[in-house]
């Protein structure tokens, strides 16, 4: 148990971006995403420019394109949706390789695809360079309402608890000759999920009691993440400024 291994989104190494205070990164990520979303969908050049900017930040953070692409898989359902739109859209049609596609549908699909992808990339970069705990500290410093910060803290906690319990139970099942290749053994898996939630909940409860016993009052201590300096804000906001310039020019 404990923290650490559940964070498959985090790239654990040092870089100028990793060192940036979490509140700066969160602000920059949110503002950049807003700029991307507000960009007109016909501004193809602007989207290319955003991609270059994201690439530059990723390079600075030493997060490789392969890693980003693999993690972007969470976006797949939206991609499928975007691909369907040109076939189902109404209005004028255009011929692409002999297939009549809806112009409006094409634009709508492109809009979802490009903004979704850029948004996912920005979030992935944030996650790759910021530990979940730093994220929570950042939200707290940004005066995010206490209740939201607490929910985030506990989601994090329970997620780890869940991953840990799942691993233990899987090992215990395997040890008793369970071979998940066979479809009929899916029942053990389904029963396992139920037990998993119950156990994770009970353990989460005990962890919470242990936290209370050590004087927890709803605020996590800040740990070692230092507060953002002026220079850090300047660095973070310069990326936002670049995004804003692209958005306005387009």
């Amino acid at each position: 148990m404990g923290a650490g291994h559940a964070h498959w989104l985090h790239r654990d190494h040092d870089s100028p971006v990793h060192r940036l205070a979490p509140e700066v990164k969160i602000t920059a990520a949110v503002l950049c995403t807003v700029a991307v979303v507000l960009t007109p969908r016909e501004a193809f050049g602007a989207f290319a420019a955003y991609l270059v900017l994201i690439g530059a930040v990723a390079g600075l953070a030493r997060v490789g394109p392969g890693w980003l692409i693999r993690r972007s898989a969470i976006e797949l359902p939206f991609v499928l949706f975007a691909v369907v739109l040109p076939f189902t859209g109404h209005g004028p049609r255009t011929q692409v390789l002999g297939v009549a596609l809806s112009v409006e549908g094409l634009y709508a699909g492109w809009n979802i695809l490009v903004k979704g992808t850029l948004g996912v990339l920005v979030s992935l970069l944030l996650a790759a360079t910021t530990t979940p705990r730093e994220l929570i500290v950042g939200l707290d410093r940004l005066r995010c309402p206490q209740i939201l910060v607490q929910i985030a803290t506990f989601m994090l906690r329970y997620l780890q608890v869940l991953v840990d319990e799942a691993r233990r139970m899987r090992v215990a099942r395997l040890a008793r000759g369970y071979d998940p290749r066979f479809l009929w053994q899916v029942r053990a898996f389904a029963a396992g999920i139920g037990a998993l939630f119950l156990r994770a909940f009970e353990r989460g409860e005990r962890v919470y009691l242990a936290m209370l016993s050590r004087g927890y009052t709803g605020r996590l201590p800040e740990g070692r993440a230092p507060k953002a300096s002026k220079t850090q804000w300047t660095a973070g906001l310069s990326v936002v400024a670049a995004t804003a310039v692209i958005a306005v020019v387009s």
Binding site: G2, A3, H5, A210, M211, R214, G215, P221
Partner: protein, 249 residues
């Protein structure tokens, strides 16, 4: 001076199960007392009353002159500083990414910052011999090491009453002995819940037996352990090959 006073304590869980049925227990300052009893006797339930986590039944708990009043937030904070509980399972206690951060969690909640906080962490880790592991991920440590870190997380709060729930369980013999040496070196009132009777004898001059939510025996550990009838009545058993004779008066 009385370090802990529990009087007439009752408690039922929300599902109706009555776990405590009038517990009376007094600890003098600096005393080390073993709390014995079979599974389900109510030991953990009693422990969770000592810092106000469980409450709501009849009776009272007073720590160092401070009454446990669950609705008084300020008193509750002070109470949680005074009473340090090491939980049965170290995995319930450790949840932060590094050992040092986890040890700092308690004192930071008490308002310590900077140098002072760092000093507390160093001191607590040194006390349990885990200083060189300060930057490691807790769940990568061995069970015995995690138990020691769990003790450190509580020592860092400088409690006046240390409560340990089965500290020797799952430890190999060497870790068990090392933990005993650590506990023996601490000058703090200690209540130690345990099923490990030789351990109780080694560390605690006095023992209390809890069964079915009541204190059924209280006296010098050596005398209680020599009373075969008492042990049998309350499902307490010495490990194979052990026997204590009643000390001569």
């Amino acid at each position: 001076m009385t370090a802990l006073e529990v009087a007439g304590l009752h408690f039922s869980y929300p599902d109706g199960r009555q776990a405590l049925r009038g517990v009376d227990l007094t600890l003098a300052e600096g005393e080390r007392v073993a709390l014995l009893g079979p599974n389900g006797a109510g030991k953990t339930t009693l422990v969770l009353h000592l810092n106000g986590i469980l409450h709501g039944g009849a009776g009272r708990v007073i720590v160092d002159g401070l009454a446990v009043r669950p609705r008084d937030r300020v008193a509750l904070t002070e109470l949680r500083r005074r009473v340090g509980i090491v939980f049965q399972d170290p995995d319930d206690q450790l949840f932060l990414p590094t050992v040092a951060e986890d040890v700092a969690f308690g004192p930071a909640n008490l308002g310590l910052r900077g140098e002072e906080l760092a000093a507390r962490v160093d001191e607590a880790l040194a006390a349990v011999g885990m200083s060189e592991h300060r930057d490691r991920v807790p769940h990568h440590l061995s069970f015995g090491q995690r138990r020691r870190v769990a003790v450190a997380t509580v020592l860092a709060m400088r409690p006046s009453l240390l409560v340990l729930d089965e500290p020797s369980s799952n430890l190999d013999p060497a870790s068990r002995r090392e933990l005993a040496e650590i506990l023996e070196g601490l000058a703090v009132t200690t209540l130690m819940v345990t099923h490990d009777l030789p351990y109780a004898l080694q560390l605690c001059p006095r023992a209390v037996v809890l069964d079915e939510g009541r204190v059924v025996a209280d006296g010098p550990t050596a005398e209680l352990l020599a009373d075969a009838d008492l042990l049998a009545r309350h499902r307490l058993e010495l490990p194979f090959g052990f026997a204590f004779s009643r000390p001569l008066p």
